[in-house]
């Protein structure tokens, strides 16, 4: 019954937040936060159990097996922290009741998706999470709604309706919507004759996971959403697409006839790789931290999709591991962006810089998260990258794909650095002197999420074990996983604990050396006292290099930057709308024309009656 309690707490919390907001605005956030933590606690301490009930003759089946539990933890954990962060982040903003009610309902939807064991309830929760997130995506302002928010909902709708098509076709074909029944009937196999069912379902999931041609909504919407929700949006909601892919592809992974698996690996794997590369290139040229992070999310999801597509032991583990870790570090990065936005008023690199002295803790979070994102040892992100590469090289032999992925993740260093440099480093603005560190209410969730990266850097087994159980629960072989030794199919190992401790010890030793050597004489300079300009810049001057930061790189990439998927879709949209505008002219407004339509219709029907009736 844990499921019911979790959903109940979230829904009641949503309603409570909505109505409390009218009574006393101060309590809206704490109430929502309580609901978030309450749901997580309920999920932790109550047995999940199995819920079955019937509605309109369709049976609903919710169950918390290991896989559902894994994703439910991503959702509930991240959401609870994001809600805590929200309390101060949203302080003083309007329509908090609306915000928190949508937030909690959305979390309920995500949780429902995670625990659904049949396609109908999966779809229902999916839609709930979609429209609530749309409401949040347009929270900030209307300026983006016509193009950006709407873009999100249109793409989501296309995805969701592809899913719905598959669902009703599957229902017509197999007379059941249970995942287990469909799986047993082979409904998710390309070779089943109903190849369109898995294809349509995958299309639906691909939209949520922002896979290449369908990714354009994500960079448009993530930056416009309040950051406390974007953390969940990018961290947890996009993972639902990954969950769906896992569920659908299990059948193919488990009983693979060669060509199906090859097809998945080639199509999905390359789409994921291209997404990663393309989004990384886009992220590099962004000038706003939020845009950068949005594109980076798309890129990271590309890795995860590629990892899923392998269907191998290492690859699937990489997918689950990265899914959780991406939730942690991207969640904290969006929170960092939110913190900067709240304190400095903007996240545009060209307008602020040098916040490190003002917001040291925020910087620390950002630093840890970015190192983890870039996959540099000894933090957790590296483990995911390692698993992904080893899987592609040693298990699926996707040699050129691994190069593409590698290109993406190498280029990711560029935007990783840009994020840190743009916000926190460089010369301090005179106006930035008043900026202060954010409240601990915001820092604690950020630091908690960073801690995930740090701990998993040394003990990735903490994630491997639940993830392995999750994979086993859907019948995929997961094998044995050590606490901190990674090993590939060839038996080559990397001991991240040794790495972590070596780096840690050396770092501490040398840091002590360099700190205490001649400490007395060390003078701490301001960022204006730089040697090469030959003079100290005036307080109002800011020499920070921010515009066209990666211009040489952009020139090197060259032509690629000139094409834009977004533009393509917008053109299609504009063309469609123009076409609709043309079509509606059949309603001329002239009564006689309408009468003429009637007569023509009659005549046509009578002429062709033998064919029509």
């Amino acid at each position: 019954m844990g499921i019911i309690y979790v959903l109940g707490i979230l829904i009641i919390g949503a309603l409570a937040a909505f109505f409390v907001d009218d009574l006393n605005r101060k309590w809206t956030g704490p109430v929502a936060m309580l609901a978030g933590f309450g749901a997580a606690a309920a999920f932790a301490f109550l047995p999940g159990g199995i819920v079955r009930w019937r509605i309109l003759g369709f049976s609903m089946h919710w169950e918390t097996d290991a896989l559902a539990g894994f994703f439910a933890w991503i959702v509930l954990g991240l959401s609870a922290l994001a809600l805590m962060y929200s309390v101060k982040y949203m302080e003083g903003k309007a329509r908090q009741g609306y915000f928190y009610a949508s937030f909690l309902t959305s979390v309920a939807g995500m949780f429902g998706v995670a625990v659904s064991k049949d396609l109908l309830s999966f779809f229902i929760f999916w839609e709930i999470m979609t429209w609530t997130s749309f409401l949040l995506a347009i929270y900030n302002a209307y300026y983006g709604v016509e193009t950006k928010g709407i873009k999100y909902i249109i793409f989501s709708a296309i995805g969701a309706y592809a899913m719905l098509t598959a669902i009703v076709l599957a229902l017509g074909q197999y007379h059941s919507l249970e995942f287990s029944d469909l799986m047993a009937a082979g409904a998710f196999r390309f070779s089943s004759g109903n190849w369109y069912i898995p294809v349509l379902l995958l299309l639906g999931f691909a939209v949520k996971a922002a896979v290449l041609p369908l990714h354009v909504w994500a960079p448009a919407v993530y930056p416009k959403t309040p950051m406390s929700f974007t953390a969940v949006f990018s961290g947890a909601m996009s993972k639902m697409g990954i969950l769906g892919m896992l569920l659908i592809l299990t059948g193919i992974f488990r009983s693979a006839t060669g060509w199906e698996l090859t097809l998945v690996r080639w199509v999905l794997g390359w789409l994921g790789g291209l997404t990663a590369a393309w989004a990384t290139l886009q992220a590099i040229r962004q000038n706003d931290a939020k845009d950068l992070l949005a594109w980076s999310s798309v890129a990271q999801l590309g890795y995860i999709v590629t990892a899923v597509s392998t269907g191998t032991r290492l690859g699937l583990m990489a997918a689950l591991y990265l899914a959780l870790l991406h939730a942690a570090f991207k969640g904290s990065l969006f929170m960092v962006a939110g913190a900067v936005e709240k304190q400095a008023g903007t996240t545009d690199f060209r307008r602020i810089s040098g916040l490190i002295k003002r917001m040291p803790w925020t910087f620390l979070t950002a630093l840890i998260a970015i190192i983890s994102l870039a996959g540099i040892p000894p933090l957790g992100g590296f483990v995911g990258k390692w698993l992904l590469y080893e899987s592609l090289i040693s298990e699926t032999h996707a040699y050129f794909l691994v190069i593409l992925i590698f290109f993406a993740s190498t280029s990711a260093f560029l935007y990783s650095y840009r994020f840190l440099f743009g916000l926190f480093l460089g010369q301090e603005e005179e106006e930035a002197k008043q900026i202060t560190e954010v409240s601990w209410w915001m820092l604690i969730p950020m630091l908690a999420l960073s801690a995930v990266s740090v701990v998993t850097g040394m003990y990735p087994g903490l994630i491997f074990r639940p993830a392995a159980r999750a994979l086993e629960s859907i019948g995929l072989p997961a094998g044995q996983w050590d606490m901190s030794i990674l090993s590939n199919v060839w038996g080559n190992q990397t001991d991240v604990f040794t790495v972590g401790s070596t780096v840690g010890i050396l770092f501490v030793l040398w840091a002590l050396f360099i700190t205490f050597k001649g400490k007395k004489n060390t003078r701490w300079l301001t960022t204006k006292e730089i040697s090469t300009s030959g003079e100290i810049p005036a307080p109002e001057d800011n020499c920070t290099f921010q515009r066209g930061f990666f211009q040489p790189f952009e020139r090197a990439v060259g032509r690629l930057y000139r094409s834009s998927m977004d533009q393509l879709w917008e053109d299609i949209g504009a063309a469609l709308e123009a076409f609709f505008g043309f079509i509606r002219k059949i309603y001329t407004g002239n009564a006689q024309t309408y009468a003429m339509y009637v007569i023509i219709f009659v005549v046509l029907l009578i002429l062709f009656r033998n064919y029509i009736f």
């Binding site: 347009i138 209307y142 709604v145 016509e146 719905l164 009564a591 009578i606």
Partner: protein, 493 residues
């Protein structure tokens, strides 16, 4: 108290003619009486619905002429569900319009109330009648009252919309008459049960021609694609409660008539393909026109046409699940679209501007109404957990059972269009910078009750559709069961 289906029609008709007299006695009689009548209707239909579902269809003979002669009313489970719906919606719409034009005294309001009652009576008549003759009469009654209501505001647009409606309505009635004439010459009867019994013997050519005429005329009323030029104008120019009634009362009756002709007079197989195709075209063109609208009520009107198209598709598919979905859709459409028209007209009332762009940021002034509008918009697009989802899902399921993949994809593609413009409006309401001056027309308490009850229904039906599922299943099975209908009606004699 003994009640019969006749009361449902007779009470509002009688009241409509009595109102002028009563109005002389009591100043606000015109406002109160319809409510009493509709409440009476509601209770009668509740009793009758129970009776129908407990002990089978009711056949009411009028003036002693037994079927197949004379005129009679037939209340099957299928019509019972719709009667209940129409009675309920008529009552809610009356409640909503209770303070309609309260600044105006007497006359105008009286005419409005009379026409509304006549329209409800006519619609109930269409649903209840057992013969084509009465169907014609009731179609005309609803038609004329609807035209009059469309032109109720004596402005140029109202008159123009009324004239268009009048022109197409008259042509529809001509074709209805021609169709009835053809059927009569072949079967020698106007009783639907008897026609249905004799229809197999009729030569195909004449049969189909008659069908075409009937489809054209009823299709005009049901807003089928090339015949629906009147609809956007009429919906947008009529007074707001009337727009709601067009969707919730008139539309229900029209789609009922279409279904009755398709399923009872003819074989479902004959009209199946036609209904699916035209339904889809209706939906497609309506939604394509809707997305580019700049006027709120026109947008809602086109959206109504789209929903009717979907209902036609469902009737065209014609399996039990599809009919279930169709009935559910009709109920949802009546409830949700009424809610949208009701809330939408409060926007317009406040803004004195029907354009969409005027809606920017209106939620600050009308928070509750905006909330209800948003709820309705989400529901009609078919987002779970609102009731609109289930009807759409059931219809799709029916299509899926027949593996009609192109149709499913088509419906859903059109739904994307629909979703786009509804969510744009939500975006405007909540997130745009407001442009116009605040006004202070808060909704009256009656209107609030009406709208809230509809909203509650949307949520309740969305979360617990099994509440009405039993009725709908019985109703849809009965529609499919032509023989029982014939026997029930004719065995009385």
């Amino acid at each position: 108290m003994v009640v019969s289906p006749v009361h449902l029609i007779a009470a509002p008709l009688a009241a409509a003619f009595l109102i002028p007299l009563l109005n002389k006695l009591y100043r606000d009689a015109a406002r109160v009486v319809p409510g009493v009548v509709f409440l009476y209707n509601l209770s009668v239909s509740w009793i009758l619905v129970n009776r129908v579902f407990r002990s089978g269809p009711i056949v009411e003979v009028i003036a002693g002429w037994k079927p197949p002669f004379g005129i009679n009313l037939v209340m099957t489970p299928f019509s019972a569900v719709l009667v209940m719906l129409v009675s309920f919606m008529a009552f809610v719409i009356w409640l909503y319009g209770f303070r309609f034009k309260r600044s105006l005294k007497g006359g105008v309001v009286m005419y409005y109330e009379i026409l509304q009652m006549m329209m409800a009576a006519g619609s109930l008549g269409i649903i209840l009648t057992g013969d084509l003759f009465n169907m014609f009469v009731f179609v005309e009654i609803t038609g004329i009252t609807a035209i009059a209501l469309t032109a109720f505001y004596r402005d140029r647009d109202g008159a123009e919309a009324g004239f268009k409606y009048m022109l197409l309505g008259s042509m529809a009635s001509v074709f209805l008459l021609l169709g009835i004439l053809l059927i009569y010459t072949q079967t020698g009867s106007l009783n639907m049960a008897q026609i249905a019994e004799r229809m197999p013997a009729v030569a195909t050519g004449v049969k189909v021609t008659a069908l075409i005429f009937l489809l054209i005329s009823l299709g005009t009323e049901a807003e089928m694609f090339p015949l629906n030029g009147w609809a956007p104008d009429a919906y947008s120019q009529a007074p707001s409660p009337t727009s709601a009634a067009f969707a919730a009362v008139l539309g229900v009756a029209a789609i009922y008539a279409l279904a009755r002709v398709g399923f009872t007079l003819y074989d479902h197989g004959t009209v199946s393909g036609f209904l699916i195709a035209m339904g889809f075209l209706t939906m497609l063109f309506a939604e394509m026109a809707a997305i580019t609208q700049t006027n709120l009520k026109r947008m809602l009107a086109y959206s109504s046409m789209g929903q009717m198209g979907l209902a036609m598709i469902a009737f065209g598919i014609g399996s039990e699940a599809a009919l279930f979905g169709a009935l559910f859709l009709i109920i949802n459409h009546a409830i949700i679209k009424s809610l949208l028209f009701m809330t939408g007209s409060y926007f317009i009332y406040n803004l004195n501007d029907k354009r969409l762009r005027a809606l920017n940021g209106i939620h600050k002034r009308l928070p509750y109404v905006s909330f209800l509008f948003a709820l309705g918009a989400l529901a009609i697009v078919g987002f779970p957990p609102f009731s609109g989802f289930w009807s759409k899902f059931y219809i799709l399921t029916a299509a899926g059972a027949k593996q009609m993949m192109p149709l499913i994809i088509g419906i859903l593609a059109v739904t994307v269009i629909e979703m786009t413009y509804y969510l744009r409006v939500i975006g405007r309401i909540y997130f745009a910078k407001e442009e116009s001056e605040p006004a202070s027309h808060k909704p009256s308490i009656q209107a609030l009750v009406a709208m809230t009850s509809l909203a509650v229904l949307i949520i309740v039906l969305g979360l617990y559709p099994d509440l009405i599922a039993g009725f709908l299943h019985r109703a849809s099975m009965f529609l499919l069961d032509k023989q029982t209908y014939i026997q029930t009606v004719l065995h009385l004699s």
